[in-house]
Symmetry: C2
Subunit: 227 residues, 2 copies
DNA sequence: TATCGCCACTGTGTATACATTTGCTAAGCT
DNA sequence: AGCTTAGCAAATGTATACACAGTGGCGATA
């Protein structure tokens, strides 16, 4: 495995897991020493992270981990709405019904998993991931899938700080079930509208969960001294 | 100006202008000596071009300029539909009406420009660019604008080989006028539907113009020997 | 003559050394 | 006392050298 690929995944995962918090400066020498590689492959990783929007150049301080503000979340969801509605539309037109029927059965049984304990939640997130993969496979559009995957990286980072209480998870499961059934019925418009509703709820939940738990900086104002 | 930035722009423009045709192998040493820089900044440029989807790694031959097949064009337009419809929706909600009223007047006068000669066509393309900029400014969403800009790079490359006859340009101008008027009326749904129609026509035109003028490779099959 | 194996060459991946730019600090002058 | 300038230091941008992997060609053997 290439060092640059390893560095990219390591940094991306640390950013998504909030181990590298928004505003953290990623100095090249510091990170290359920490990851045990040279500056050259590290720079390749940083270029990719910049393209992903997970880090951004800041005027006087080099590359910093991008902020997650309510404003950022709203903007991200505006793009997400566009891409995911299109994706489920195409999935409804082209998808393999049998694949989504399996997901339907699992979603119908998911309430049993969500009785509050953590392993059940993990199983639910895994089911959502399989749903996403099924949609990706159904749309069969590399450009769209690439864009969606980039978005999902940001969304996972947001979710790490949003509180998904069991009630919300049951709601989300019901919304996903609606989408899956629309795809099975090959009803593209219903699938798109159900996705719209789902994302509206998800945005409300994300904003409620993170509004007062972000890094504190809005991303625009001056940097309060943090000695 | 940084060498890596210069190399990125030079290679991107050459790919968009079809000077570097699809299938061209971009060897690092070869390109670095050609551009008069070292391999290090060139590699940064290539990473960015890969993220843009203008070049892609191929198994045994390093990075090659990506192909433009009818299939690619259809896939690109599926993403474009999603993003541009969302963009004009948001522009209709948030845009500065005065800005779009200026564009409306220019679009009403554009038929005079399109009497077949090349300077008029140039002026029309410039007007479309100003329309795109106005939409970008109105949506005020960095994620969406970044995605749209990346798409437009591909679209310019496609347009370079599509034949935009005066009839099509007049049609496109009429469609743009419809979108602009919908934005002025703050009718988001009308703007989105008008954009859908416009992109449908644009896709038809792009496919008609490039179906038998691509590089010849479909992008999936084996490489026919070209000695 | 055909096939298999080895050698050489080309090209990418990585590391390190060097240069340039930018920001911070200190000192001197107004 | 405050502002400006100069110098230093650190970090990024760039270049080059080296190592390894992959591929193609050539030769030998069956």
């Amino acid at each position: 495995m290439h060092a640059s690929e390893m560095a990219y995944r390591a940094l991306r995962d640390e950013i998504v897991d909030w181990e590298l918090r928004p505003g953290t400066v990623l100095a090249e020498v510091e990170q290359s020493v920490r990851l045990g590689i040279s500056r050259t492959p590290l720079r390749a990783a940083l270029v990719r992270l910049t393209a992903d929007g997970l880090v951004a150049p800041q005027v006087g301080r080099g590359l910093v981990v991008t902020d997650v503000s309510p404003q950022n979340i709203r903007e991200l969801f505006e793009v997400r709405r566009a891409l995911e509605e299109q994706a489920v539309r195409l999935a409804a037109e082209r998808g393999d019904v049998a694949v989504f029927e399996v997901l339907e059965r699992e979603l119908l049984a998911v309430s049993d998993l969500l009785e509050g304990d953590d392993p059940g939640r993990r199983a639910y997130y895994d089911l959502v991931r399989r749903f996403d993969d099924a949609v990706d496979h159904a749309v069969a559009n590399p450009y769209l899938v690439t864009a969606l995957r980039g978005l999902r990286t940001h969304l996972v980072r947001i979710r790490r700080h949003a509180k998904d209480d069991p009630g919300r998870l049951r709601g989300a499961a019901a919304e996903h079930l609606m989408i899956v059934q629309a795809i099975i019925d090959r009803d593209a418009e219903l699938a798109a509208h159900a996705t719209h509703v789902h994302l509206h709820r998800a945005l409300q939940n994300a904003l409620a969960g993170t509004a007062d738990r972000t890094s504190g900086r809005s991303g625009r104002g001056p940097d309060p001294a943090t000695p």
